[in-house]
């Protein structure tokens, strides 16, 4: 034993133990895991919350020195970022200028033209200031080019020189340009961006105060202009700055100015995430969510898919949090942007392990105990999990040695994340999975149908004692009482979208939300001055506003013309300024002729101290980013402002006036300004309304286009469809049905038992033993082979209906036995056995009886689990046959049923039989009963019908003439299944033996030409025998003990005969020499369904719900999946997928190569289990009185065809797909032939 194998075994054993532990103590383990998650996440609390807001730190100016790079120990309150010199020192000169006294001869432009003009003088002053041979040029921050994308700012912002900005930049700092500018406002306005803006605008940058506070406006009643000159300095020279401050203060003294000048503020900026950076981030997150979605979609066969998906996501997320927390705990502070690397970490860690675990646990045998299932699932995947984990660790280790700091850090995180993820998978997810599986088991047991409940409880092995006693099995009555299960229709996608829209009223809500957002944006961008109004209201009521100070500048332009209140209320709003003349001025327009004001007052308040605070927090970063200087993770120091007050005389204002000024902006009339702003408001409102209406119309049109039918009326039209069988969803909408009309073939008097076809002809046999041959194209009845013909020879009377009863009894018995299985469930089976005959007597119509049953199809024609009642099997433990016999006797002893005497059936009547829809049933006559002549199996090849009878007799009939060609009575045990291939007939008998017959004809033509397998697609026209051919049927070989238990399924194709039996095995025989090639073992229940086709694909399904795919050439098992709870009732393969249906009314579609379940279709309870594949993409299933067509590629229900009007209780139990894209199915006593036109067209 190599080290590797030993290691593998040890790992597997350890995982097994661990699985047992997790499943045994779920609650303590989950508590423990949660506690450890919380503990590991605790250090995260210390981390700062993410945010991009700047952080401030204030120091005193007086003893300022540049902080050193090295962190110093005792400076407790000093933040970490306060190290080294700042990017720049910002010195602002705050200028407040006013023309005073105000004169009535002045025009509004005068209020800001001359004050703005003074900026050039000030600039000159500042530039030329020299203090002990140091000038501004030496100190200021030298900037180079603007960024290449900013061509339109090139004219305005300085380049190649000092970063010194002021409103003068609008005019290239040239007085002459300013003086010759006819319209200052237009110049300022033309650089403003259109539409929404969140970052700093050029106007804010140049003026240095918020745009509202500048006072550069025609409607400014305060007539005080405020702006700043901003100087960015690269070094700090206290003496130079001090002299500049003194000089400016001397030149322009500000009275009543008491600004504090002793604090400088350091502002630290975090890395900013802009929209542009956000887009890749959002993309990675979208990809991440798509990954999670596609991964968790694969979780299947569990109780709560969403719960498990949530658990998986929680596992991954908390492992990441844990890793971050642990790294923080050990001092590895993350420098990486957590949000950015997070998606990649999730992708690296992945959800694969979780899914592998789930799949492995789910695919353990269902009948095991939960603990053991978990343990087995864990241990079977242990090796791959460990291997993957080791590989990932090695990769990450390699990454660690790249020696790139960012990658190293990522790797460190990934390692910790991987380990914590492994821990969580093992403890948290496994436990959640065990809880889920246990829930599923409980729900499953509660929900089990009696057929399934009667299944043998898992073989009591020493390893797995079932702890919980099985809950009381529901009586058969509960099935009929059960509410019809919802039919999980897979509607076309467009309908699903429409329904989703309709259900959630999505469009409506989106419009509502959009309106709210739109209003919010409107308020934010403030087209109507709403915010100013609010600010004014607040400042009026605030104690600061009442503190005796005159109304300060910040709220000076309280009521600009566009005030919404002026449109809302006629009354002028109260004025914040106490000036009496303003009352009369109503709308704030200075009218010549009225009393002049006392002149604007320049006042300094505490809010001017740090005026930059009112700017956007992106003000400084955006200014520096224009010069490709990032402030992210750096800081700037803002020095105290230098206040400058300018008082200008009216003469000066008039002198500087531009010739166009007086007339260009005409004296503003309140009406027009109101009208203008109102107009913009109205325009915006109208635009929004129009957009909303358009959106509604668009959605409405879309809705009409997508769903043109008025589906509310559909339910009324199809009123006769009732809820149960109507394939409609909650909205009463049923998918449109095209003109597929079933052709009903009538003639049988009882339920159809056997159905065989070779493409041209169709043979059916009813419970009465009557065989009818139909033309598969036209549906005409060609031949009737009545039992009366046989009666002549066997000279028995009254057996016909006994026969029917016999079969019914056998079926019921088999039904119970087949489901109850073998030894363990016998008691329960007997109980049901008593119930059924009694119930049948009480309600003697068979269809309703069988309508009660969820699913009888596979059992009736294949599952002859026990001896017929006439043959009591010795040692079987109970006398089931006697029980049924007794029931029959009671039945016969009961008052005679009002049946008319049977009409004499004769050869002459044969023709008219086809026209007579209902054959009056004969009254059973007492007498010696002949049990031997019911047809249990039938095959049709060419024009020969092979019929296997319960007596063990094999008969060959001529399908056209209705004559018996030959018969063989070599065997005595009833023939349960027949296969007719080439010139050989294989018969499976009730005692488990298998007989091979050879059909010989005297003409070598005929059957020998014929090489068709059963199945569609490759049948040549049937060979015809003339009536003079002598056909003989000889037993060539009989395999006595082919199986230990009765053979349930027999299929033949491609020269192979495959049998499945109750003894859990599948055997493969060669047809030529009847030699057993393989015995395939792998099921843990009786075989219930087998599929084999010409390409040697063999699939088998068993009572354990498992489906195995085998390689017929080697006898090896290709794949093994658990798909159903309860028996697999039917199996069909196409070239790419395997379709199975089970007793749980589920149709599963599997990928044939990988064994992965593609999807499943939940059907109604008791929908029947018959399946057929018409083309590669068209599946047909039988239901209650209907057949449904499905698109295999997408799982969509294409349509449902109803076979009869009162179809309740008539399940389609057998379904044959004919060559010409028609399907034939039994429907009570009728046959139904359904053509599928669309497929027909395609085949042609």
């Amino acid at each position: 034993m190599t080290v590797r194998e030993r290691l593998r075994q040890n790992i597997s054993a350890a995982f097994y133990q661990h699985g047992l532990l997790c499943a045994s103590y779920p609650v303590p383990i989950i508590l423990f895991t949660s506690a450890s998650i919380l503990t590991c996440c605790y250090p995260l609390l210390k981390l700062p919350l993410p945010g991009t807001g700047p952080v401030e730190f204030t120091t005193s100016v007086r003893d300022y020195s540049i902080p050193s790079h090295e962190p110093q120990g005792d400076l407790g309150e000093r933040p970490e970022w306060y190290r080294g010199p700042p990017v720049a020192y910002i010195q602002q000169v705050l200028v407040k200028a006013a023309v005073s006294p105000w004169d009535n001869t002045l025009v509004p432009v005068d209020a800001f033209r001359s004050p703005l003009g003074r900026v050039f003088n000030l600039l000159e002053e500042i530039r030329n200031h020299v203090y002990t041979d140091r000038s501004l040029e030496a100190l200021c921050l030298q900037v180079t080019d603007l960024l290449p994308g900013l061509r339109r700012m090139q004219a305005v912002l300085p380049e190649h020189g000092c970063l010194l900005i002021s409103p003068g930049n609008y005019w290239q700092n040239r007085r002459d340009l300013f003086d010759s500018d006819p319209d200052l406002l237009k110049t300022i306005q033309q650089h403003e961006p259109k539409g929404l803006h969140t970052s700093a605008t050029l106007r804010d940058l140049l003026f240095g105060v918020p745009g509202k506070h500048t006072g550069v406006s025609l409607y400014n009643r305060k007539r005080v202009v405020t702006y700043t000159i901003t100087i960015a300095l690269s070094g700090y020279d206290a003496r130079f700055l001090g002299s500049l401050r003194t000089r400016l203060k001397q030149l322009h003294p500000s009275v009543n100015c008491s600004l504090r000048e002793d604090h400088m503020v350091h502002v630290h900026f975090k890395e900013e995430i802009g929209i542009a950076e956000l887009i890749p981030l959002v993309t990675t997150y979208i990809i991440l969510f798509a990954y999670i979605y596609f991964s968790t979609r694969k979780i299947d066969m569990v109780k709560s898919k969403w719960g498990l998906a949530l658990a998986a996501v929680v596992t991954v997320l908390s492992s990441l949090l844990m890793s971050v927390g642990l790294c923080t705990l050990f001092g590895l502070t993350p420098t990486l942007n957590g949000g950015e690397i997070f998606p990649y970490l999730v992708v690296v860690i992945g959800l694969e392990n979780v899914l592998v675990l789930t799949k492995s646990v789910v695919s353990t045998p269902v009948d095991l105990e939960v603990k053991l299932r978990i343990a087995q699932g864990l241990s079977s995947e242990s090796w791959s999990i460990m291997k993957n984990m080791a590989t990932e660790l090695v990769i990450i280790l390699i990454g660690y040695f790249t020696l790139v700091p960012a990658i190293q850090e990522f790797c460190l995180f990934a390692v910790v994340g991987l380990v914590s993820d492994f821990f969580l998978q093992m403890f948290f997810f496994t436990t959640v999975l065990s809880i889920d599986i246990r829930r599923m088991e409980l729900a499953d047991l509660n929900r089990r149908l009696p057929a399934e409940a009667g299944m043998p409880p898992p073989k009591p092995g020493p390893l797995r004692p079932r702890e919980t006693p099985p809950p009381p099995r529901p009586s058969p009555h509960t099935i009929t009482l059960q509410a019809p299960a919802f039919r999980n229709l897979r509607l076309p996608k467009r309908l699903r979208v429409v329904y989703f829209l309709a259900r959630t009223r999505l469009a409506q809500r989106i419009i509502m939300a959009g309106t709210v957002i739109w209003i919010g944006i409107l308020v934010y961008t403030d087209p109507a001055g709403l915010r100013t109004y609010l600010a004014a209201q607040v400042s009026e009521q605030s104690p600061l506003g009442d503190a005796g100070l005159p109304p300060h500048l910040g709220v000076a332009p309280v009521f600009p013309g566009g005030d919404p209140t002026s449109t809302l209320s006629v009354l002028p709003a109260p004025e914040p300024t106490p000036l009496p003349e303003n009352q009369s001025q109503g709308y704030g327009a200075p009218r010549p002729g009225l009393a002049t004001t006392a002149g604007p007052q320049i006042s300094w308040g505490p809010e001017d101290e740090e005026g930059w605070r009112q700017l956007s927090f992106r003000h400084w970063p955006s200014l520096f980013s224009y010069y490709n200087i990032t402030l992210a993770k750096r800081y700037i120091s803002i020095l105290p402002v230098i206040p400058v007050s300018l008082h200008l005389s009216p003469q000066e204002a008039i002198e500087t006036r531009h010739p166009q000024d007086p007339r260009h902006p005409p004296p503003p009339s309140p009406k027009t300004t109101d009208l203008q702003t109102d107009l913009t408001l109205y325009k915006v409102a109208a635009l929004g309304l129009a957009a909303g209406v358009l959106l509604v119309l668009l959605l409405f049109c879309l809705y009409r286009v997508l769903c043109p039918r008025n589906y509310g009326q559909n339910g009324v039209q199809h009123g006769r469809r009732r809820r149960g069988d109507l394939p409609c969803d909650d909205y009463g909408y049923s998918p449109p049905v095209s003109e597929i009309s079933p052709l009903l073939l009538r003639g049988h008097s009882m339920d159809i038992e056997c159905l065989a076809s070779d493409g041209m002809l169709l043979a059916s046999c009813c419970l009465a033993g009557q065989i009818r041959v139909w033309d598969a194209q036209t549906g005409d009845c060609l031949t009737v082979i009545p039992n009366h013909g046989l009666r002549r020879s066997s000279s028995s009377s009254g057996w016909e209906h006994r026969d029917g009863w016999d079969l019914a009894g056998v079926c019921d018995a088999d039904y119970l036995l087949g489901s109850d299985g073998q030894d363990a469930g016998l008691g329960a089976g007997m109980a049901d056995g008593e119930v059924y005959p009694l119930r049948r007597r009480a309600t003697p119509t068979r269809p309703t009886l069988f309508g009660d049953q969820p699913d009888l199809t596979p059992l009736i024609d294949t599952n002859f689990g026990e001896q017929p009642p006439s043959q009591t099997q010795p040692g079987s433990g109970f006398d089931f046959g006697g029980l049924v016999e007794k029931a029959y006797q009671e039945h016969e002893a009961s008052p005679p049923l009002p049946f008319p005497p049977s009409p004499p059936a004769s050869q002459q009547r044969r023709r008219s039989l086809g026209d007579q829809p209902v054959l009056p049933p004969e009254r059973p006559l007492p007498g010696p009963s002949d049990w031997d002549s019911s047809v249990w199996a039938m095959e049709l090849r060419g024009n020969l019908i092979a019929a296997g009878r319960s007596s063990g007799k094999l008969e060959l009939w001529d399908a056209v003439e209705g004559s018996l060609r030959c018969s063989n009575e070599d065997g005595s045990s009833g023939i349960t299944a027949l296969a007719f291939l080439n010139n050989r007939i294989v018969a499976a008998r009730l005692n488990g033996s298998l007989d091979f017959f050879t059909v010989d004809i005297n003409k070598p033509l005929g059957l020998l030409q014929y090489r068709g397998p059963p199945g569609r697609g490759s049948l040549p026209p049937s060979p015809c025998y003339s009536s003079e051919d002598v056909i003989s049927c000889q037993l060539t070989r009989s395999v006595q003990c082919a199986h230990q238990k009765p053979i349930t399924v027999l299929k033949a194709a491609a020269g192979r005969v495959v049998t499945g039996s109750q003894d859990h095995t599948v055997r493969v025989y060669r047809l030529e020499d009847s030699c057993c090639l393989f015995t395939l073992q792998g099921h843990s229940g009786g075989i219930t369904a087998i599929y084999i086709d010409q390409t040697m694909v063999l699939a088998s399904g068993g009572q354990d719900g498992a489906i195995c795919l085998w390689d017929v050439l080697t006898g090896s098992r290709v794949s093994h999946v658990y798909g159903h709870r309860g028996d697999v009732t039917s199996l069909v393969c196409t070239t790419s997928c395997v379709i199975s249906s089970g007793l749980d009314d589920l149709i599963c579609i599997w990928d044939r190569c990988t064994g992965i379940k593609l999807y499943s279709i939940q059907q109604e309870v008791g929908c029947g289990a018959s399946l057929g594949v018409i083309s590669e993409s068209l599946l047909v299933t039988g239901g209650q009185g209907c057949v449904s067509f499905w698109d295999l590629n997408f799982g969509d229900l294409l349509q449902t065809v109803y076979l009869g009007q009162n179809s309740e209780g008539q399940g389609v139990r057998q379904l044959l797909v004919l060559d010409n894209a028609a399907i034939v199915c039994d429907f009570g006593s009728e046959l139904s032939l359904v053509y599928v036109p669309s497929v027909l067209e395609k085949l042609d």
Partner: protein, 229 residues
């Protein structure tokens, strides 16, 4: 008794005909077109996003008046990338079927999503992580790309196609830069960055993966047709 007396009146459900539903899906040309369109849109989207990533870091410089546009890159970049990705995505399944070695490794959408995420991550790393020198960066990215191929593709044809297309695309980029259509801020390999072939290779692998996954839906149809023949 057991006999069922089903009412003999035949019921035919009437409704509007709805035949061609099956036919649409099985139409091969339409399927090809749909796949091409999907691949094109994926390519355009990825090109936009990844270009944004490069522009943020000033790796590539486009003429400045374009930068202010909504998509912040030249108009011809996304369509080119989209067309290329559509071609690659259609080429891969085609080559697979020609060579007769179908791609069997992890044919699931979740794996494809993982692949796309890793691809975006490689781009992210190339744009954002500060490496000591260009050789280190290029080697790291090459290793990552090979790892991507090993994890998600592992087919020889995929590798060959990837290398070939990456070389072609590098050549095309060289020509473009040489003709002055755009430029790189710090070219270290003739006119471009030396990691560009790695990125191209990873992109080809990713788009091929998507294309193969999309082609899985069509393969069923083809099989069916072959079966009918």
């Amino acid at each position: 008794m057991v006999d069922s007396s089903v009412d003999s009146s035949q019921s035919i459900r009437r409704s509007s005909p709805r035949g061609p539903y099956i036919a649409i899906v099985t139409d091969r040309t339409a399927n090809l077109l749909i796949r091409g369109a999907m691949l094109f849109s994926v390519g355009v989207f990825l090109a936009l996003v990844l270009n944004l990533l490069q522009i943020q870091r000033n790796v590539t410089l486009f003429p400045p008046d374009v930068i202010s546009s909504v998509f912040s890159s030249a108009w011809w970049v996304p369509p080119c990338c989209g067309t290329a990705s559509a071609l690659i995505g259609l080429l891969y399944p085609c080559v697979d079927s020609r060579l007769g070695e179908p791609h069997q490794l992890k044919r699931e959408w979740s794996s494809v999503m993982r692949c796309v995420a890793v691809f975006v991550g490689i781009n992210h790393a190339s744009a954002k992580v500060d490496f000591a020198n260009n050789v280190q960066l290029s080697l790291t990215l090459a290793a990552l790309s090979i790892g991507l191929w090993w994890t998600f593709d592992r087919s020889r044809s995929g590798f060959g196609l990837g290398v070939g297309i990456a070389l072609l695309a590098t050549l095309a980029t060289q020509l473009l830069v040489y003709n002055g259509v755009f430029q790189y801020t710090s070219p270290d390999f003739l006119y471009i960055r030396s990691w560009l072939p790695c990125i191209f290779f990873a992109g080809v692998i990713t788009m091929g993966n998507i294309g193969r996954q999309l082609a899985m839906y069509e393969s069923k149809v083809i099989q069916e047709k072959m079966h009918q023949d």
